[in-house]
């Protein structure tokens, strides 16, 4: 194993992607896979782990870890995509149980890509199949689909508002379309250059995080005000919402931290600086933009949870949170009654929202948006009013193309539409989960975990807000809501995720 490692190390130092792959081929497939993505820095860590195929508790060689899941991947979602590989390997037919056997017994086949029954390990070894870049086309197509769906709904929900703002009816649609097209091109470039981008991200993760935080600090100081709060930083050629960048920064930061320290992040020695960094940066974003702060904290926390050996604290926290959610409303209502709060006009806006959420009938002005959203959802019924038939978008529900777009989806496409949207999200999250499981290294995996957490949190928060489950926080629906920075950043994350998927090697 030591030999193996060394080889890998050397090759990765040589570093050119193709060359690497070629050498790999001539060498041993798995060695090649391993080395390239890990680069110079991880080399050492893996040296002794290579042999411990099954030792879960202690650190295992990532190669081994990867090898097992790949078996399952093939049986599961990756099946179709690997079909060509399978076809290539078609000559080498194996017994039905081969896959299972391989999973259990072949710790040295890190990324054996086989269809069940299709390929026997021995045969594979003999044929020395070429390792191939895997690419998660499912995710890519899923993103395209949900974004297209979003475009349609942006047009439907914004055309009235656009005309009323004195713009052409497709003003918002066009802007979203342009940003979308740029993003998709970016995603494709990102995927192609995965071999460069992922190591770069890993190397400069701290720097990126630092820069995004500094940018958002700058935003606080010299940002452009819109609707009363300064969330935009004008870079001359483009205005960006820096809080969105911090989300990416946080993902990279936590991924890097976990990839360095492993489970040690849960220990006091590391946690005592990781958690403060996480929560302070989130907290100070929250001063201007509560929802982004919550999401950033949520991303960091989720990644902290995954990169942590501890279960019970988190379970405890989860139970507490659930209880909080269940009892918050009655509690607030009780407080309002008790304190006999009549007017909330002069309160802080977060407080207003909480009170309005708990007692929408008492503070209709603050709860207006939520109530109108509920009307929209409720009036949609199972089948909806039909595409483009929303009534609420005609003025009752201002800025329907932003945070409240889910309500318009419900109104126009009904419960069916809502299910379809949620299923699309579930699919994307599922793909991210899968990529995280089979990613080349821990950093990549953790990045995927972060991205997955980000998408999940935003979707959940957004739908929870519009259905009145939690107070209004102003979270956009990823891929669907209108908004330049948000779309760009979400798409950037998708680009990273797809790049990571591209760094997975399959054997074909």
């Amino acid at each position: 194993m030591g030999k193996n490692k060394k080889k890998g190390g050397r090759q990765s130092a040589a570093s050119a992607l193709k060359k690497n792959g070629a050498q790999k081929n001539s060498d041993r497939p798995r060695g090649g896979v391993r080395t390239r993505s890990q680069g110079g820095d991880v080399r050492g860590q893996h040296t002794d782990a290579a042999g411990n195929g099954r030792s879960n508790g202690s650190g295992t060689l990532s190669g081994q870890m990867n090898s097992r899941p790949f078996g399952s991947v093939q049986q599961g979602m990756l099946r179709t995509s690997i079909a060509p590989a399978g076809a290539q390997a078609g000559g080498r037919q194996a017994a039905a149980g081969a896959a299972a056997v391989q999973r259990r017994e072949s710790p040295k086949r890190p990324r054996a890509v086989q269809r069940p029954k299709a390929q026997a390990p021995a045969a594979a070894a003999k044929a020395q199949p070429k390792p191939r870049h895997y690419y998660d086309f499912y995710l890519f197509i899923g993103i395209l689909m949900i974004f297209s769906m979003g475009l349609m709904m942006v047009y439907s929900s914004s055309q009235y508002a656009a005309v009323m703002d004195g713009e052409s009816h497709d003003y918002y649609f066009n802007k979203q379309l342009i940003i979308g097209c740029i993003s998709i091109v970016g995603v494709i470039i990102c995927s192609v250059l995965s071999g460069i981008i992922i190591p770069l991200l890993k190397r400069f993760a701290y720097w990126i995080f630092g820069i995004t935080v500094v940018l958002s600090l700058l935003t606080l100081l010299i940002g452009t005000a819109s609707h009363g709060s300064t969330r935009w930083l004008n870079l001359g050629f483009i205005s960006i919402q820096t809080a969105e960048l911090v989300k990416i920064g946080m993902i990279l930061f936590m991924a890097k931290v976990v990839s360095i320290y492993g489970f040690s992040v849960g220990r006091l020695k590391q946690a005592k600086w990781i958690l403060p960094i996480m929560f302070i940066s989130a907290g100070f974003i929250a001063t201007e933009n509560l929802s982004s702060g919550i999401i950033i904290a949520g991303i960091g926390f989720s990644m902290f949870f995954v990169g942590n050996r501890n279960w019970k604290w988190f379970i405890l926290l989860g139970i507490l949170g659930l209880c909080g959610l269940l009892f918050a409303k009655p509690l607030v209502v009780y407080m309002v009654d008790k304190l006999n709060i009549v007017s909330i006009d002069n309160m802080q806006y977060q407080l207003k929202r909480i009170l309005a959420w708990a007692c929408p009938d008492r503070f209709p002005d603050s709860a207006y948006q939520t109530i109108q959203g509920l009307y929209a959802i409720g009036s949609g019924g199972v089948l909806g009013q039909g595409l483009g038939e929303s009534i609420q978008k005609f003025g009752s529900l201002p800025e329907a193309q932003n945070d409240m777009i889910f309500t318009i989806i419900c109104e126009e496409l009904g419960f069916i539409g809502a299910v379809a949207i949620v299923l699309m999200y579930a699919f994307i999250i599922y793909r991210l989960w899968d990529i995280a499981n089979y990613a080349r290294d821990l950093f990549s995996s953790m990045v995927c975990v972060g991205i997955m957490a980000h998408i999940s949190i935003q979707v959940i928060l957004n739908i929870a807000v519009v259905t009145g489950v939690i107070p209004n926080t102003g979270v956009t629906l990823p891929f669907i809501s209108y908004g330049g920075s948000a779309v760009l950043c979400t798409m950037a994350e998708m680009g990273i995720a797809l790049a990571i998927s591209h760094e997975i090697y399959t054997e074909g």
Binding site: T60, S302, V382
Partner: protein, 795 residues
């Protein structure tokens, strides 16, 4: 790298994505999926439980205060030059019923029956307050029980609306206090008011052709400045809407409507009403097919008054008042003939065949449209006719300007002029068949001598003649800011023969519009500057800021000042010693030129008589052009140009003081009373009777005790005497009775029988039998939307 620098942790715990992490990630995934499922369930519950209720709310709040709503703009007002409001938009309210809301309000009474608690009380309240017929209202509500928007009454004023709202509040309060449990439930609901604007014209028919009228919604104007300046008069609707501020609270914002701009016209309501008074008087007396008059300020091209005898009430433009049913039917028949021709590629049907192809209702419909268009048509701008002798000054002016003739040249008039060519010989008569004898140029104008004009024109040649016709704006657009301007016919072809040239020199064989003639005269009177005639003085926005001030647009210089002076002098001579004696105004030096043109077909012996003049000669302030088309005379009687001259004289006598010119020997102070009396009368009239002012009242008011009017009356008698003694032109024309009836007045075939060989009458060739000059019959050929088309008649 840190890991490698930290070999201990690296060695002991190589951080890989291990099983625990995977398990945790799986846990995250499960939690996410559970959360999504829970949220979907929540969505489903919202829809399942509240679908119906929320759907109703959503529908109903479209009209509520929360949703965005439109704020109508106000169409701009129109004022005359003195600040009299000629057109205004007033805010009114439409009563809207929402029967569905009324019917939806029901509850189950104790006996299990459904009881509606809104319908009856609301109907009661409406009937009680507005005095509606109960049965009618009830039927209406029942018929539209599923509708949410029924306009029940329009144009309710603010006080009435507010009163009703108060009444409803009071009634609803009473219901609540009632002892009876059933009554206590009652409510008045489902009635609301919608903002609207009502367009009214306080002076009714005053200056109707100039102002035009607008559609009920205030978006489009028809005719006059309402049409021409529609873009200025209309504004942009505003909006009431909500948006979310940073706290996600709803802010209600009102984006106010951008109201239309106000037009200030150059029209002077006083002069206009004087003009209309005398046109009306004329029509009531001898009368004619059409009589029209333009009063202009010759120094700037501002139109002070413009009227024709086809007036209509702007507040109620769509009536066929003044037409009998038969007349409308006849108009309809004619319309159908044109319609048939248009639809069947030129196929002709006779009037008798029309009923075979068209329903009676359709004929009447077309007839009604035609009748409206006749009324709405602005004769002064749209209709072209042969001007007659008023043209003569331009013939002279052109020749003088080019140095072809000299002011002192003499011409010999022998009563006619003969032309030979293409196998025919034409003799064109002067008005005086016996000849005027030797005449100088001035004499040619004062005596309105055709022979002199023909001689001059022949000397000029057709090129120069046509050049000056174009310089004076004939055959082209004057640039007047009114829709559907006509251009006239017969001046486009540069290749005309001698006979044509000769006849044109005295204003036959081509057509022009009144506005062309008036603008051309104005250029002579002001010393050679041709200004585009205009009715707009300035545009003012709703805050009173002047958006645009119309400066006189100098289109071109026509002729030199010396030529103008000569012509002006000749015009003065014409009135003082020549054919225009009837136009004299006591106390003023007046200049002007008569015109008597024979209409097509010549055999009908119908005439257009006109007079175009100005006063005072020393400092011209007013130019007045009166045209009378086809005076109602039996054939044997001759049309007198004095008809027009007399109207001119009366109008001038009354209007000159209004522009600060008083008769000689009379102090200005003496005139103040009458000159102010008129606007005051009209003002108070319009206020007290809200726009239903009548012309009779006006004229009565202005005549009572006004010294200026007395003067003009006395003037009438003198001018009448003058007509008898000095009206050479007319007497000469009356001699025409002796000539064969089928002949042209001025042009005779050599042997009296050769007119079949083709009269050099371009016009009749050009227009065929539809007639160039569009009298009412000819008018019927126009499409219903003739007013909105800038077409030259007959073109």
């Amino acid at each position: 790298m840190k890991a490698s620098q930290n070999p201990k942790s690296g060695r002991r715990k190589p951080p890989v994505f291990n099983r625990i992490m995977k398990q945790k990630l799986a846990a995250v995934w499960v939690i996410v999926m559970l959360a999504l499922a829970a949220l979907l369930y929540r969505t489903y519950r919202i829809q399942d439980e509240n679908n119906e209720e929320y759907s109703k709310i959503v529908l109903s709040q479209r009209q509520s205060e929360y949703s965005s709503s439109t704020i109508l703009y106000k169409r701009g007002d129109i004022y005359d030059r003195n600040g009299n409001k000629l057109a205004q938009s007033e805010r009114v309210y439409n009563l809207i019923l929402d029967p569905r809301q009324m019917f939806e309000a029901e509850y189950t009474a104790e006996d299990g029956s459904k009881r509606r608690y809104v319908v009856e009380p609301t109907i009661d309240a409406l009937c009680e307050y507005f005095g509606y017929d109960r049965g009618e209202l009830g039927d209406m509500i029942n018929d539209h029980s599923s509708s949410r928007y029924v306009i029940f009454q329009k144009s309710i004023d603010y006080d009435t609306k507010q009163g009703f709202l108060d009444y409803v509040d009071q009634k609803n309060a009473e219901f609540l206090k009632s002892e009876d449990a059933e009554v206590r439930k009652n409510q008045i609901k489902g009635v609301w008011f919608e903002d609207d604007y009502d367009r009214t014209y306080p002076y009714g028919s005053l200056a109707c052709s100039v102002i035009g009228f607008s559609s009920a919604d205030g978006t489009t104007g028809t005719g006059g400045v309402e049409q021409y300046y529609n873009d200025e008069l209309t504004g942009t609707n505003g909006r009431r809407y909500g948006y979310l501020n940073d706290d996600a609270n709803l802010e209600r914002v009102i984006k106010p409507a951008q109201n239309g701009n106000t037009l200030v016209l150059t029209i002077d309501a006083n002069i206009q009403s004087v003009v209309e008074k005398y046109l009306k008087e004329w029509q009531a007396g001898i009368g004619s097919l059409e009589a029209a008059c333009i009063v202009m300020d010759p120094n700037t091209g501002e139109i002070l008054a413009m009227a024709d005898s086809d007036s209509f009430d702007l507040n109620n433009p769509r009536t066929t008042e003044g037409y009998t049913e038969q007349e409308i039917y006849d108009l309809g028949l004619q319309e159908c003939v044109y319609d048939y021709r248009a639809k069947h590629e030129g196929a002709e049907i006779s009037l008798e065949e029309v009923p075979e192809h068209y329903e009676r209702s359709e004929i009447v419909n077309k007839g009604t449209m035609a009748a409206w268009n006749q009324k709405w048509r602005n004769f002064c701008v749209s209709d072209a006719y042969e001007p007659g002798s008023t043209q003569k000054i331009f013939t002279v002016a052109g020749a003088l300007e080019e140095g072809i003739i000299n002011e002192n040249d003499f011409f010999l008039c022998e009563g006619n002029l003969q032309f030979s060519g293409s196998g025919h010989t034409w003799r064109i008569n002067c008005i005086n068949r016996n000849g005027h004898g030797p005449l100088d140029v001035t004499g040619g104008i004062t005596n309105s001598c055709n022979v002199v004009m023909m001689d001059i024109a022949l000397q000029e040649g057709e090129d120069i003649f046509l050049k000056y016709q174009h310089i004076f704006g004939f055959g082209g657009s004057t640039g007047v800011d009114l829709p559907a301007e006509g251009k006239g016919l017969g001046l486009d072809d540069p290749d005309i023969g001698k006979v044509d040239l000769a006849t044109r020199s005295f204003g036959q064989n081509y057509t022009c519009t009144m506005i062309q003639m008036a603008a051309a005269y104005a250029s002579i009177i002001n010393g050679g500057s041709y200004y585009a005639p205009h009715v707009l003085d300035k545009i003012v926005d709703e805050n009173g800021t002047v958006v645009r001030e119309v400066e006189p647009t100098l289109v071109r210089e026509t002729v030199s000042e010396s030529t103008c002076d000569f012509i002006k002098n000749a015009l003065f001579e014409t009135v003082s010693t020549g054919t225009g004696g009837a136009a004299a105004v006591a106390g003023y030096h007046v200049g002007g030129k008569t015109g008597t043109a024979e209409k097509l077909p010549r055999s009908e012996e119908n005439y257009v008589v006109s007079f175009c003049g100005f006063a005072p000669v020393e400092d011209p302030q007013l130019l007045c052009y009166v045209v009378i088309d086809q005076p109602d005379l039996v054939r044997q009687e001759q049309a007198h140009s004095s008809f027009a001259s007399e109207i001119f004289s009366k109008i001038m006598a009354e209007c000159l003081p209004m522009v600060g010119k008083y008769p000689e020997g009379v102090q200005a102070s003496e005139y103040q009373a009458p000159s102010i009396a008129l606007p005051e009368t009209t003002e108070s009239q319009s206020e007290s009777e809200s726009g239903t002012e009548t012309e009779e009242d006006q004229s009565a008011a202005s005549e009572s005790g006004a010294s200026g009017t007395e003067t003009s009356e006395s003037q009438e008698t003198t001018s009448a005497q003058q007509t008898e003694t000095a009206g050479e032109e007319e007497t000469e024309i009356s001699m025409e009775e002796t000539r064969p009836p089928a002949r042209d007045e001025y042009i005779q075939g050599d042997d009296g029988g050769s007119e079949d060989g083709g009269l050099p009458d371009m016009l009749s060739d050009l227009i065929g039998d539809e007639g160039i000059y569009q009298g009412p019959q000819g008018d019927a050929s126009g499409e219903p939307e003739a007013l909105s088309i800038d077409s030259s008649p007959g073109a």
